[in-house]
Symmetry: C2
Subunit: 302 residues, 2 copies
């Protein structure tokens, strides 16, 4: 099961009642946060999923509304008795910015390991797989996909047919070959066909792009910026490197995403619901994100 | 008239429903902010006094909960079309910290002029006079007093008795001498006795100290930290360089302050009102601060 939350949905500046855009993912109890603007720690506190197990922070880019909450959040983790390292991922330039911000959080009871990511280089992170792709926002900015692969089902009837004792089953189930009675036994001999995992993509502060369609291909949930609701703001979206609701919906449709949550609303967009129909014309499963929205994604039954 | 607001009243970390401690002062339309932790820009937005005329930001010390909101606030001012310089005041070390934080707000449409203050050196600021005193918090930390001096009343009957034409009155009223018919006329010849001005003091993240009693002598409003409510936390207050409600009240009483607003509550202090009686035993005019509390201080009638 992959729990997903939108602690905040605003762009540019935090507002009373609307925190800055971010995405929180929980897998096996571990927390992974995408973006951390000013006030994100308060949005996380309001959500109530805790701080101690937040071990991965992924930043899209170094504009203040996506990174300025970092020192406060790190201090909050320290205050939650975290001592394990925290991994920080983001685009080139992030580590220097993080270093500057940490001038007010110089002493922490854990190590912060900052890694600047290249596109399309999957990383094993928090029990899943993180991959980045270049966004189109006029400065180094990354969009992300987080995959939770699913092992094929173990088929005990085939293991029994091979006469394999039960103590070897778990190794094969994990996908590792064993040697038994002088023969190699491959996992494929006792495992079923490949199974669909779970995937979430997080695209913000970007224009649409074919490479982002590919990044988000077939995801269970696409969390995508829709800075502007109205089609009439299409030119503004181009000018500022953002998307309209319609453009986000077109991207979701092209990617074959199952669900779309719109987020990163302009401060001027006070009632994003008013423009939802424009997205639904293109992608009927589109939803307007709101602060505190959550969903639990489960593997398909089979 | 001096308008005063407490946009936030929390210490250590911003909480849902309680912003970090700060103090906003408005004089002649100009705004002056004391301390700027994470989320202070949202607290200011909720207050509704605007951003454009915020030209002075005064920082007590460089702990994250007092300064981490600086880059976001500067960007907010930029977004409010401010182009006039912003003055930033604080203790030694502030300018380097501010420089690090500005890594995410490098380009602003106004100049930020950072000045590290020495104690007891009054500065002309925002139409009033700012003076700092050393706090006692284990690192460079300043407490502040902001005075609005009041001119003595102009006494037209004395000006008429001297035969002074009306066109000279304003100069004398401003406190400047004039030359008239070959004689110097001093302002004291047409002005009444000295009049009491208005003063506010802001003491946070400090133990009580005699020098702070002196700083706050006779202020109209003392905004003072009371990190702990319960007398039983007196040892913790010593350990962490803070005060209990009772200690803040003792300081207010010793200073002869007219009012006391307690602020900077520990996150563990969920209902500060429960301990107000402990402060009132010592200083009956004590009040528990709350986010959004305001008061308009007026010159006395005379």
């Amino acid at each position: 099961m992959l729990d997903v939350a939108l602690p905040g949905t605003g762009g540019m500046m935090p507002l009373p009642g609307r925190w800055l855009s971010c995405l929180l993912v929980r897998l096996g109890g571990e927390l992974l946060l995408f973006d951390c603007g000013e006030g994100t720690q308060v949005a996380l506190a309001a959500l109530g999923w805790g701080f101690r197990r937040l071990g991965t922070i992924v930043i899209s880019h170094c504009h203040a509304d996506h990174v300025s909450g970092l020192p406060g959040l790190l201090l909050r983790l320290a205050n939650s008795d975290r001592v394990e390292p925290v991994r920080l991922f983001g685009p080139p330039g992030l580590c220097a910015v993080a270093e500057g911000l940490r001038g007010i959080a110089p002493v922490l009871p854990f190590e912060v390991r900052c890694e600047e990511l290249a596109p399309r280089q999957p990383q094993a992170v928090a029990g899943g797989r993180l991959v980045a792709e270049l966004a189109d926002h006029g400065l180094p900015c990354l969009s992300y996909r987080f995959d939770v692969p699913r092992q094929p089902a173990f088929q005990p009837e085939r293991a029994r047919a091979l006469g394999l004792p039960v103590e070897h089953w778990q190794t094969l189930q994990r996908g590792e070959a064993i040697s038994w009675r002088g023969h190699a036994v491959e996992p494929s001999e006792v495992l079923g066909p490949p199974r669909r995992g779970l995937a979430v993509a997080y695209l913000t502060d970007t224009r649409p792009a074919a490479r982002l369609v590919e990044l988000a291909a077939g995801v269970d949930l696409l969390v995508c910026e829709g800075t502007y609701g109205d089609d009439a703001d299409a030119a503004k979206a181009v000018e500022h490197g953002h998307m309209t609701f319609r453009e986000a919906a077109e991207l979701a449709a092209a990617a074959g995403a199952r669900r779309l949550w719109l987020t990163h609303f302009s401060p001027a967009l006070q009632e994003p619901e008013r423009y939802l129909s424009l997205a639904r014309q293109v992608f009927p499963a589109a939803e307007v994100g709101n602060d505190g929205r959550t969903v639990a994604l489960s593997f398909e039954d089979r």
